[in-house]
Subunit: 148 residues, 2 copies
């Protein structure tokens, strides 16, 4: 860790530090799969729903209902897949934001590959066999922590 | 728990169940404070950032930088404050979404009250003394679990 005291200044939140993550760090934290949140615009409002995601072919994918709110809002530009991890006991955490275009995967060969890669069923009930792909156009992340 | 097998059907995700939460359950899960995610539109893209929030006076509040992306995007209608909790080991979790208008709190008396209620400093560094209020217009939530 760098010498965080070098930048120490008095004032609100002065002991709290944060730094930007580069693309490599963001991909590393996303891993190959996990649980994140898909954020998009539906009927003029931002909606945010947890999803189990799969990173494959440089894009983020998740399964959802073929006739639900998500699919009915696609394709859509400028949506987000957000993933974070929090450690409340030490007031630390990180957050990664994948921003880009989301669309339903239609190609049969690609669907077969995705179903083969996906380990877990979606946690929610009902038929959720539509695959959504988010192609990253911007990738950003930040780590925050309480400097001692 | 209700007899989940009554609705059992074969097919993808058939053992996974979910149900909607009512407003009382949503407020109960939000509690008086916690860590959630603020989702809004900035330059045509959905942005999602973790925030420590405070529920007060029927609205959700959080602190942020007075000259950052969030404040520069306000006031804004149809934004979201999302909170969830996950139990990956049992593929269960819940998610609550507060949807409404977000604006910077300007009233001095209200600011004094909010600073008095806020327990934790923001985890990120820098001056973050602008209070944002999200007035709930819609409140929704869902619980998901793996039926045995």
């Amino acid at each position: 860790m760098a010498d965080v005291n070098a930048d120490f200044q008095y004032g609100p939140g002065a002991r709290h530090e944060d730094y930007e993550l580069d693309a490599e760090q963001c991909w590393s934290l996303l891993g190959s799969s996990g649980v994140g949140r898909f954020a998009f615009v539906h009927e003029g409002r931002v909606a945010v729903y947890p999803v189990g995601y799969l990173v494959y072919g440089g894009a983020v994918h998740f399964r959802t209902s073929p006739d639900g709110t998500v699919v009915n809002s696609l394709p859509q530009d400028g949506v987000a897949l957000q993933v974070d991890a929090m450690q409340p006991s030490v007031q630390a955490g990180w957050s990664v934001l994948v921003s880009g275009r989301a669309e339903v995967v239609e190609d049969a060969h690609e669907l077969t590959t995705l179903f083969g890669q996906m380990v877990d069923e979606p946690w929610a009930g009902g038929v959720r066999d539509a695959f959504v792909r988010v192609r990253p156009e911007r990738l950003s992340g930040r780590r925050v922590y309480l400097a001692q």
